[in-house]
Symmetry: D2
Subunit: 317 residues, 4 copies
């Protein structure tokens, strides 16, 4: 089974080895601010679904994708967005309630597994999956395996600095990639552009602007929205060039809301990338967008792949 | 056997599985500006050494570390410093002359193998080896294996941009890490500091200043030399923070001439690193200097490790 | 794409990453006794199918499962049953005709990949897939990877000797497992039993008895057919006990025609296995039958998995 | 550090990454029939040695080779020869006493690691290390990694049956390889040969004959000793042929007391092997004897290699 613990919604599904979703459902994450209650509630929902779809015994294990999830430790570590603070040993909590092996990973890891098993990265050994949403995350695959890092924290591309005198990021540093390319940053870029000029723009109609508005207006030809996406793409290309010079991936696969901007984002990103990447790699790294168009189902699917990567329960006893 | 093709000197040695050097020798690389002549001369020297030390049949294979070496292709690719231009299929050239399997890798790869097998990285799965010399190179180990990248070019940390409006690099970009932390960059930093002031400095005695002068003067207490190393360390720390945020290594191991500066370099690097790295990694990444104190022998030793990673000759037939 | 070169029929299909068959077709293998003609004909059929289903550019590579296929060399090696003799460099022959990467493996390897990716072995690290058909083949997975052996010939379980004074095998030895458990051996066991007694048996109605007749009669309650399967199971159990003592698999997965006999075969095999296996493994090795019930489609599916394990064509150039 | 827990003697040593023994010592294993006492005594000796040789902080971890050791579980499991019965969680017991990571493996595993890192198997991916001593053990390397099996019990080659009506083995079965090729079996073969004839033989001088006597007399030309070794070699060759048909190793490396018989053993083993192995492997599998001539130090060295394969202590906390 795969579980995606999002900030608003927890989705869960039974997925077979071929990626077919047998059953799925969801509930609001924030209904359970106490992690013990949450773990109990989630476990009950999972067992309900198992029993209704072939039975408990037909399920091998459960994979969970969650913000700040750490596969090495099986925990949520200091999530800045979820209500549960500190280090939450979620894999153990669920394993004890379910009597079944549980794996926990972060969103970037889970998505990369989904792309490798069922998506654009199938058959690739060395690639990067980049998630562009409310935050940013990345996962490198090396020699066909995900690179998780020594502590399980690899992939914090959002806090790579691309301009030491640049925009202030929520993390306290200046010039983080996330300050330009995650949702808040993109909205800030648009707001600044709107403030600088009197030009009409569809973006002006929104009281609270979000990334989706900008992408939609961009596709509808709004020039300020297009300029926003263009500038975001340039920053992204510079950040990725640094990354790629060190990693030399076969492809970078873009996923998350912002990747819906498609060529409006990827063309300037590509151009800035080629200008900044180490010369031997120029023209050799593919830029691909994910085949999955439902981010939540992508996470659930990736989480179901993660489920297979934990040893069976009998080996924990 | 291990071979290190340096810009000035080619060193070669017979090394046993425990890293003991049975025999070693060297000759000037530039004596053979034609690559065919060079390959023939080198092969003759290698066979001579084999015959004098147990015989041709006791050697399994040959590993070669060289600037711009590409393990995936077995070639030297567009080296900017060696006399042989374009793509040189060195592994095949030597294999045909020697009748023995040959592996070719770049300096960063070869050094990382040496550190993993015989040095500070023994037993580590996820780490970075950083070479600081005339150029810069890095190699990530992921899950206990070197990450070579899709085309074999991974590790070009020297051309990671840390300041888009910064110093011009030889590659044509601005603000590359190499422009500050490779030999020429360090000398430039010292020269600029010397020009800005009348303060006496031992560095003023050298007509042509090099990195070694600066390191020596730094250790002897010269304040301008120390300021040079300090500034270099800060830039290095910023660059490594970006790298580590994405990779989450257990340790970064410093090798190459500049690492002789020891704590003069590592203390400011560490401080800038901690200021810039993603918060969950703060205080968790070890900074280590290599145990090897002879760079040339380190390369030869690492190249001998590489030799074992190629299949035996019989499988090429 | 996946291709299964059977003794009678060559099947081929376009399979997506989830194991869905997009298109499939077949032709008689023996229509092309000359291997060059065969390779050309097969390539034309494959390209036809690609063009009719999304186009040549949507296919990454081709995997081929074939008797005596050697993945390490990409060839068919000394097949005793196919018309093409000696070492046939099939991967190269097809690659040159298709302009696309091609992987070749033997049936046991291909089936094991299919079971690991889409079948009962999903999520297992250490298991054996055993094919019981006209011949016998086995493939060990170790640490999640297929064990192919140094020359690519691993898995010849059919020629494991279980009784040095036993039945003569086609290979010239006595007491090979294949002499009892492959199709001819099973038929011979039945014939001997029929000759020893006058008891009526449905098996007597067939002029030329084959394995399928025996399995069908066994299920219909024929005692001689049941005794045949029983004895076959005992021999199989003894052979597998030897194998498992050395390999310690999580499961043995049975596939091929004979596995259709189900519990008639597995019960005596299990009993003989437990009597003969090293005591610490008793009761710990699962005996499973494959979920695939069409051997030919299983091979094609497994071959499509193999296709992803070869590097893309660009890296051969 | 490496520890070898033998039936009579426990040896332990500090070994550096290159296999140099910095310090070593030993004590009688049976002095401590209670496992808690034993673990405490051993831990005290290890810490003493650490403190006398560079200090506790210079040691990363401890590897232990022991009969019936299970790396997956870190325990001794149902050893038939050691005084400690059932499942002994030795890794945890030592880790708690030492405050340091501890890995436990069986003799076959530990020796194979030693051969791979420091011996004849260096650079090989797929090979078998066979231990011939009081018992028999084997370890397959697959794709460069030891194959440990699902429960950690792989390698029980001694209980592979080569003749279902053969000699009774201590395990209760007939015809186990161990009944012919482990120490007791070899002595039994010699005794039977001595009983069948009046021919003079140096072997008759020993009241209690052991394997070493037979090997020594064999080398001195005693015909009955030679016949004993010859027959042992034949049985070994048959058993290995079965094994190799399934595994296809590059080499089989012989270690343990019996391997001292050298060509007296290997020549008939080779001949019987070639007669019985699957035809495509004939002449392709190397038979090698270990370079280590002190079995105890070989185990300690191998155990020190094992020490590096466990995660550092900090990750257990």
């Amino acid at each position: 089974m795969g579980v995606d613990i999002g900030l608003r919604v927890t989705s869960y599904a039974i997925v077979d080895v071929r990626g077919n979703v047998i059953a799925h459902n969801q509930f609001p994450t924030l209904d359970h601010p106490n992690i013990n209650d949450y773990a109990t509630f989630l476990s009950e929902r999972l067992i309900e679904m198992m029993e209704a779809n072939g039975g408990y015994d037909t399920i091998r294990s459960v994979g969970v994708g969650v913000h700040s999830g750490n596969f090495v430790k099986g925990s949520i570590e200091n999530s800045s967005t979820l209500p549960w603070k500190g280090e939450v040993p979620l894999a153990t909590m669920l394993r004890d309630r379910l009597g079944m092996a549980v794996a926990v990973g972060n969103n970037a890891h889970v998505r990369a597994l989904g792309e490798h098993t069922f998506g654009k990265a199938h058959g690739m050994s060395d690639f990067i999956v980049l998630t562009l949403g409310p935050g940013m995350g990345s996962c490198i695959f090396s020699n066909g395996q995900p690179h998780l890092g020594n502590e399980g924290f690899a992939g914090e591309i959002g806090h790579v600095c691309i301009n030491p005198t640049g925009r202030l990021c929520g993390c306290g540093q200046r010039g983080c990639l996330e300050a330009y390319c995650a949702e808040e940053g993109v909205v800030l870029t648009a707001t600044k552009l709107l403030d600088k000029t009197d030009k009409p723009s569809k973006l002006r109609q929104y009281d609270i602007l979000n990334e989706k508005h900008i992408i939609d207006c961009c596709k509808e030809g709004d020039t300020i929205a297009q300029e926003t996406i263009y500038r975001t793409g340039v920053m992204l290309g510079i950040g990725l060039a640094n990354y790629a010079s060190v990693v030399n991936p076969e492809a970078i696969i873009f996923t998350g809301i912002l990747s819906d901007a498609g060529q409006y984002l990827l063309d300037p990103a590509r151009e800035a990338f080629e200008d900044n990447v180490f010369h031997n790699m120029r023209g050799k790294v593919k830029f691909l967008t994910s085949t999955f168009n439902d981010n939540r189902m992508q996470n659930v699917l990736g989480a179901s792949v993660l489920a297979w990567q934990v040893q069976e329960y009998s080996l924990f006893k």
